[in-house]
């Protein structure tokens, strides 16, 4: 038997194994990426460094949102030895039971994660890992317990950064931070569980700017999870960068003053600089201290209380509340009528009181006087002329064309559509158009007489206080506006491009003069409804409003701007359930304007009366 050929069997066997192994090695090392990922999972840790958020300044450079250092009390179970639960509970001021349940919570809760490979939720709790035992302790709290921590091996402090508000104002503008939820983590890989995200207001709108850029350190870790060395000598590391500071148009002193006046009242004040569209103050009453919403513990404590408060302090009224604009709307009706040519500046209408009610006042012989006296029948006739221009024989078809045109005018003034203000919670208000009424009454089944209450800013028409303040701006500017906005500059950049674009209304410059004159007379002439808004040194132009409120007492409204010829401030004041606009809203607007223009108040008695008034 010749066995020499059997060497080939062995050679083939060697070749078989050698080539299968080589192919396998090539596949594992060069083609298949999954082992590289697995190795990263095992040995490399990305340590993210979260920078402090960008800070916020007011228009005069005062810091209104700052960062404050807080501490987490960290725990590493492996290092805990001879743990005295009672003594530890006493040190941190908890009950022993709470300490025990916190341990349980960390093991079961914070260690849990969803493993996408197995499709199961498993606990990733590791005794060698650090977990926050108590989150967000203040410097005072931590310094009280820090000296005793050495008695509890396995516990140590870690610094974190949180928001603080040196002025306890502007909560509804600034918004607040809270922990990201699962969907947000899924949507944006920037966030990790436990991190904060802007939840409302500017914090939310400017989240991407304020959060800054995270730094990432790649570290090689050992089987015991200790960091050994920077991965690849830090070649892939990036540096954390704090978000740019935001400079607001808000005057924090004016804001604070407004909030002080609006205590014990419900309603809002919006003040805008007409020449730039920057919001000077935006007060929602009642409001709350933004410091209540700093940190998970505070939010957990205060949020339920505030959200369940029947006076709705969390509701940003100036942006979200849609009220009928009342008589302030007569300004825009007059402007539209002048532009449409259905009236002249000198047109007069008798105060008949037949179709709509009115108070006793002299006859309005021109538009300015109509504004001054706020004559309801005058604007009833005026708007009827806008809506029913006689272009169609059929009354209802004619009204349809007229209303569509009217609605277009309204939209050009920013009514009935959302102003693109840089904050969340802005509502559009409502300008009814033909489609809207068709739905209610049926096609060609309505005419001006059906919808006449829109002529005096009642009925279906709704506007937010922000839109009314913007109306004051438009009149102050005689025909144009910048979209009202908060942020003047982001770091070294100016405001967002959309706030550098002038919006012109459909009403020509020349038609504004009689209306402005009317507004001047409202405040400065005898028989005007807004005398309480008068200033000594500057001419205030204003318009009162009294919004019929089926649920209770009428709302008091006043919009104004001053000075008349070089407007520096436009304002809308809205006081809920306060009755006639001239009684409450006008003097409050007056105080705000005086505070802004002269930094001091001359009539202390009026100030005190307004502050003390309890209209809640």
């Amino acid at each position: 038997m010749n066995t020499d050929a059997r060497r080939y069997v062995i050679i083939i066997f060697f070749l078989l194994v050698g080539s299968i192994y080589t192919i396998r090695l090539f596949y594992m090392q060069v083609i298949d990426e999954s082992w590289t990922l697995r190795a990263q999972e095992i040995a490399e840790k990305r340590k993210q460094i979260t920078p402090p958020r960008g800070v916020v300044f007011d228009r005069r450079g005062k810091k209104i949102v700052a960062n404050k250092t807080y501490f987490n009390l960290m725990m590493v179970e492996e290092n805990i030895k001879n743990f005295d639960t009672v003594a530890f509970a006493k040190l941190i001021g908890w009950t022993p039971h709470k300490v025990k349940s916190r341990f349980w919570e960390i093991r079961k809760g914070e260690g849990m994660y969803y493993n996408k490979h197995t499709g199961k939720t498993t606990t990733n709790y590791q005794k060698i890992r650090a977990y926050p035992f108590v989150k967000e302790m203040s410097m005072e709290e931590m310094s009280a317990i820090a000296p005793y921590l050495q008695n509890f091996p396995g516990f140590y402090e870690e610094i974190t950064s949180m928001r603080s508000y040196p002025y306890a104002n502007a909560a509804n503008i600034l918004g607040y931070l809270s922990e990201v939820n699962g969907d947000e983590i899924k949507e944006d890989r920037f966030y990790r569980p436990g991190e904060n995200i802007g939840r409302a207001g500017l914090e939310r709108f400017y989240e991407k700017e304020l959060r800054g850029i995270k730094g990432i350190h790649y570290i090689v870790t050992s089987a015991l999870n200790n960091a050994i060395e920077p991965y690849a000598d830090g070649k892939y590391d990036t540096i954390a960068r704090q978000g740019p500071p935001l400079k607001l148009g808000v005057d924090i002193n004016l804001q604070a003053y407004g909030e002080k006046i609006m205590k014990k009242k419900r309603g809002c004040i919006v003040a805008i600089e007409p020449s730039t569209g920057e919001i000077l103050a935006l007060i929602s009453a009642p409001t709350f201290d933004p410091n209540l919403f700093v940190g998970k513990r505070s939010i957990a404590k205060n949020y339920p209380r505030l959200i369940n408060d029947p006076s709705k302090p969390l509701y940003p009224r100036p942006l979200s509340a849609e009220y009928p604009p009342g008589s302030t709307f007569k300004l825009i009706q007059g402007l539209v009528a002048l532009q449409e040519g259905v009236i002249h500046p000198e047109t007069g209408f008798p105060c008949t009181k037949s179709m709509v009610g009115c108070h006793n006042h002299p006859q309005a012989s021109n538009v300015a006087e109509a504004v001054q006296y706020s004559c309801n029948p005058y604007f009833y006739y005026t708007v009827r002329k806008i809506i029913q221009q006689g272009r169609r024989k059929k009354q209802t078809a004619d009204a349809e064309i007229g209303l569509e045109k009217w609605a277009k005018y309204m939209h050009s003034f920013g009514f009935g559509e959302k102003l693109e203000t840089d904050i969340t919670g802005v509502r559009p208000g409502l300008i009814p158009d033909a489609k809207y009424y068709d739905k209610w009454y049926g096609h060609h089944n309505w005419s001006f007489s059906t919808i006449r209450s829109i002529s005096i800013g009642q009925g279906e028409v709704k506007a937010t206080p922000l839109q009314l303040a913007n109306l004051a701006c438009i009149v102050a500017n005689r025909g144009w506006y910048y979209t009202p906005h908060f942020v003047k500059s982001i770091g070294r950049k100016g405001p967002l491009p959309e706030y550098r674009k002038k919006h012109y209304t459909m009403v020509d410059r020349r038609h504004f003069d009689p209306i402005v004159e009317g507004m001047r007379m409202v405040v400065n002439e005898k028989g005007g409804t807004g005398g309480a808004a008068r200033l000594k040194n500057d001419i205030v132009c204003g318009k009162t409003g009294t919004v019929q409120n089926p649920q209770g007492k009428d709302h008091s409204v006043f919009i104004a701007f001053a000075p008349m010829n070089k407007p520096k401030i436009a304002i809308a004041v809205f006081i809920e359930n306060a009755g006639f606009g001239g009684t409450w809203a006008a003097p409050i607007a007056n105080l705000m304007m005086e505070k802004y223009l002269y930094k001091k108040i001359s009539d202390k008695a009026k100030e005190e009366k307004m502050m003390e008034a309890n209209l809640d």
Binding site: I11, F13, F14, Y21, Q29, A39, Q40
Partner: protein, 465 residues
């Protein structure tokens, strides 16, 4: 002097140089795998790299002795050497156990592992026995004696227990196969017991060993890969089921082995070789298919058991910890590797891969040098193995040939199992990678094994028989 010259002249430089290259690479690799920043010197004898150099030096001294002693001594003293190894294997069973095995003779780290040296003893004994018989007239007795020579150390090693070395000893079955010691006489006796059957020889009996191993090897590979889906990062969307991957691999190997053999085989043998390759491919595919579809047809709990045995069940942080970490280290190497001393998974400091300087030495190597490095290692080993077979086949003496084949098979087993467990093709059984793993006993035994082979080869002209 003249004698030494003749050694230098007759020495197989190819094998010797590959051997030296591997030793040097091995030291460099242990230096990286066991690097201690407090003791940066390569020659620090308190550290594993310093010690490894010491072992290499000591092995070289033993090699010098081997070269000075006449080669005929192994043949003359084969039985005493074999019995001495067996006695060490017996003595070691009475030693205190270290890590659950009574494998160490001596104190602590200065001990030796008799099992490592028993390989040499068994190889010499087997060579001596086979050279003393006429394989053309073998009986049941010769088969039984050859198997006893093999089985006695195997049983003693299993008693330690040392599963790795036990598996390595099965390599001798291939040596016996090559020499014509087959199970044919036994199978003939059994088959001829059937009434009316009178075979003179059986094909199964004479090729029993390789067939058995091919079946086992292919079955394991098929089972490991049948549930996988092979994807390519450069060909998104292309997914090859694991079974077709196996068949494809077999086809590639069949084709390439045919092409290789075409140029090395004489014209006379070509039809036969072609037939063997074709039949081999068909049979291998058949085995793979049977295993694959047979496995799919199993009941769930049976499947579970097999999967658990093969380590197919994902339990990366539990029982499969070592292999998973090792595979991550190897797989993350990429094409060019992470650079010398830059391993992140298999480095000493991180310690994710345990025993990365001994049994898992391939991990730091493959991680730091990437596919280039691992391909080089594969190439060096394949070169060494083929060189040894070449040496074996040129021996006039049966003793020398059997010994050379034994060396080839032992090295092959160590290499195949050790690297196999790093790439998920072999279960984790602790056996060292020759010339690379840290350890005195393995370094000495592998070196002496090679030195004896070189010595025998250098004197191949002296001995006839």
């Amino acid at each position: 002097m003249k004698r030494n010259d003749s050694i230098a002249g007759n020495i197989d430089w190819g094998l010797f140089i590959v051997f030296l290259v591997m030793l040097l690479m091995g030291i460099a690799n242990v230096y990286s795998a066991a690097y201690n920043p407090k003791f940066p010197s390569l020659f620090d004898f308190s550290q594993k790299y310093g010690k490894q150099i010491m072992w290499v030096a000591f092995s070289s001294f033993l090699g010098l002795l081997v070269f000075l002693i006449d080669a005929s001594i192994y043949r003359k003293f084969a039985i005493p050497i074999y019995l001495f190894c067996l006695s060490l294997l017996v003595v070691v069973l009475f030693m205190p156990s270290v890590n659950g095995a009574r494998a160490w003779l001596g104190i602590g780290s200065l001990g030796i592992q008799p099992a490592e040296f028993a390989k040499i003893g068994t190889a010499i004994a087997l060579a001596s026995f086979i050279s003393s018989i006429n394989v053309r007239q073998q009986t049941v007795n010769t088969v039984v004696i050859a198997n006893i020579i093999l089985l006695v150390p195997m049983v003693l090693i299993l008693l330690q227990p040392d599963a790795g070395t036990f598996v390595v000893f099965t390599g001798f079955l291939f040596v016996m196969y090559r020499e014509g010691i087959t199970y044919d006489p036994i199978i003939l006796n059994l088959v001829n017991l059937l009434p009316g059957v009178r075979f003179k020889k059986t094909w199964v009996g004479s090729h029993f060993i390789p067939i058995l191993f091919v079946v086992i090897f292919l079955s394991i590979i098929t089972l490991l890969m049948s549930n996988n889906i092979i994807t390519f990062s450069f060909l998104p969307g292309v997914e090859i089921p694991g079974f077709f991957g196996v068949i494809g691999t077999l086809f590639t190997i069949g084709l390439s082995s045919y092409l290789i053999l075409r140029f090395f085989v004489s014209k006379r043998d070509r039809p036969r070789i072609t037939m063997i390759v074709v039949i081999g491919f068909v049979l291998c595919s058949l085995i793979s298919s049977i295993v694959n579809f047979g496995f799919q047809g199993l009941r769930k709990h049976q499947k579970d058991r097999i999967e658990l045995f093969l380590g197919l069940r994902e339990d990366p942080d539990g029982e499969d910890y070592n292999r998973n970490r090792a595979m991550a280290a190897v797989g993350s190497g990429g094409f060019f590797g992470k650079g010398y001393n830059n391993a992140s998974v298999a480095s000493v400091e991180s310690n994710h891969v345990p025993e990365s300087e001994t049994d898992f030495i391939f991990c730091p190597l493959a991680e730091e040098w990437g596919f280039l490095g691992s391909f080089t290692i594969m190439g060096l080993f394949m070169f060494m193995l083929f060189r040894i077979i070449q040496i074996a086949e040129r021996q006039k003496s049966t003793f020398n040939r059997v010994y050379a084949y034994s060396v080839a098979m032992i090295l092959f087993y160590h290499y195949a199992v050790n690297i196999g467990m790093n790439i998920g093709f072999a279960p984790v059984i602790g056996i060292p990678l020759p010339f690379f793993s840290y350890g005195g006993s393995s370094m000495m035994s592998f070196s002496v094994m090679i030195y004896i082979l070189l010595k025998l080869d250098s004197q191949r002209g002296d001995v006839l028989g």
